[in-house]
């Protein structure tokens, strides 16, 4: 690739000096590459789909690298929520996929300015022609200004979503809805309860991400999200006594068995539980 490539650098949320420092260093490193057309934007996840920055990203043509404070997969689907078209170039999608590539580089634990710049160079290909130091100092990267606030909403990996609508049935806050084809829709993202990742846990496909969550299984780590879902102990912590817990457990098992029409096993289960005498 010889022409310049659009690189979008997302700022961290305010108040983290270490991350601000890393962004400054990345900004300077990227600006020094004549192959890079750098634009600095506010924190990607906090941008409104209707805002000017997402509008800018939708209108930016051609291949794009997005460096941000999210897991790469979460970053990509955050862009897609706002209709920024493209394919997730971090993964192979096949020769028939003609959408423009979007590489998402997450500033996740272990990443340094060097690892990120190396990855940018690898994507662009070959040694980057650097600008003379004196010029670099005089170049201010393009910056999109937009008034944002901290947001908390689910981001759906549409490649994983099977359309089971478990999330719609589960969420108490009216975040989800469906479109005219009965496909899941994040109807009211900002109705989501800040900090609550519950729908992500119940999603059978590991398709729902909360990019700002501490747990990699929730924030979009591709592997962890399918393997490391945690136990929910709410039932045990509800203060119920042994009898209530046993009854709840039995009712749950019964309803599952009824669904399976395994009536013979049902009888033996009831006998088993009666024998426990608790």
């Amino acid at each position: 690739m010889s022409e310049t490539l659009s690189v979008i650098l997302s700022e961290p949320r305010p108040g983290d000096a270490e991350r601000q420092q890393l962004v400054a260093s990345l900004s300077s490193g990227l600006t020094s590459r004549t192959t890079v057309d750098l634009t600095v934007i506010p924190h990607l996840y906090d941008l409104e789909p209707s805002g000017s920055t997402m509008q800018f990203l939708r209108e930016t043509p051609g291949p794009m690298i997005v460096v941000c404070w999210l897991q790469p997969r979460a970053a990509f689907w955050t862009l897609r929520v706002s209709d920024v078209e493209g394919r997730f170039a971090n993964e192979e999608t096949g020769p028939d996929d003609t959408r423009r590539p979007i590489w998402c580089l997450g500033v996740v634990p272990g990443a340094t300015d060097k690892t990120i710049l190396d990855e940018v160079d690898r994507i662009i290909g070959g040694e980057p022609p650097l600008q003379a130091a004196v010029q670099v100092d005089s170049i201010t990267p393009k910056r999109r200004e937009e008034k944002i606030r901290e947001r908390w909403y689910p981001v759906i990996d549409r490649d994983r979503c099977s359309g089971c609508l478990e999330c719609l049935n589960f969420c108490l806050f009216g975040v989800y809805g469906t479109d005219t084809h009965d496909d899941i829709l994040i109807e009211q993202p900002d109705a989501c309860r800040p900090g609550c990742p519950a729908c992500s846990r119940i999603c059978p496909e590991g398709a729902i991400m909360f990019p700002q969550h501490d747990d990699p299984a929730i924030s979009g780590d591709a592997e962890a999200s399918l393997t490391e879902l945690k136990l929910d102990l709410s039932q045990l912590f509800s203060g119920a006594d042994a009898t209530t817990l046993a009854a709840t457990e039995r009712d749950h098992a019964l309803s599952e068995m009824k669904a399976d029409k395994k009536t013979d096993q049902l009888d033996s289960l009831v006998d088993e539980l009666d024998d426990l005498d608790i």
Binding site: R193, P194, G195, C196, P197, R201, H213, D214, D215, K230, L231, D232, L233, S234, Q235, L236, F237, S238, G239, A240, D241, A242, L245, A246, E249, H252, A253, E256, M257, D260, K262, Q265, S268, L269, E272, I278
Partner: protein, 157 residues
Amino acid sequence: MEKPLVFMMGKSPAILPVDRQYAKSHLWVMVDGDLMRLGFSAYAVRLLGDMHHLQWSVAAGDTIEPGQRIGYVEASKATSDIYSPVGGRVERLNEVVLSTPGLVNSNLYDTAWLLEVQGTPHDLLAPESYVQHLEATWPFAQRLLKGQAGRNPTEDR
């Protein structure tokens, strides 16, 4: 100080100081006049693992009912809603624990208290009664930990 009670969770001891009361929702309650200070019991902490995130759905000044869901905890092994065993007015949430949830793992009976509620204690358990509650619910807890609770038990045969 009087010797604490110990409930064995398999091979792991859950230490339960006897200078306070406990609730079936696995919180300890320290009563001082009409002020109650609440925190996670060692049993709760052992089940949850390393605390990562604590979230309150109530704030200081709010009136809460016994049994009300007041928050949410996310830890290394599990997550759970938090239910208040007592009713009254929330006086204070422990800000230190909010910003440093890991304190619960190192200092659960002292500085890592969770919240203070002004009200009348009701339906709390003496340490001995709490141990009895743990003994009675332990089989269920074990099944839950093994991922078997709520599942068809015949699947594992």
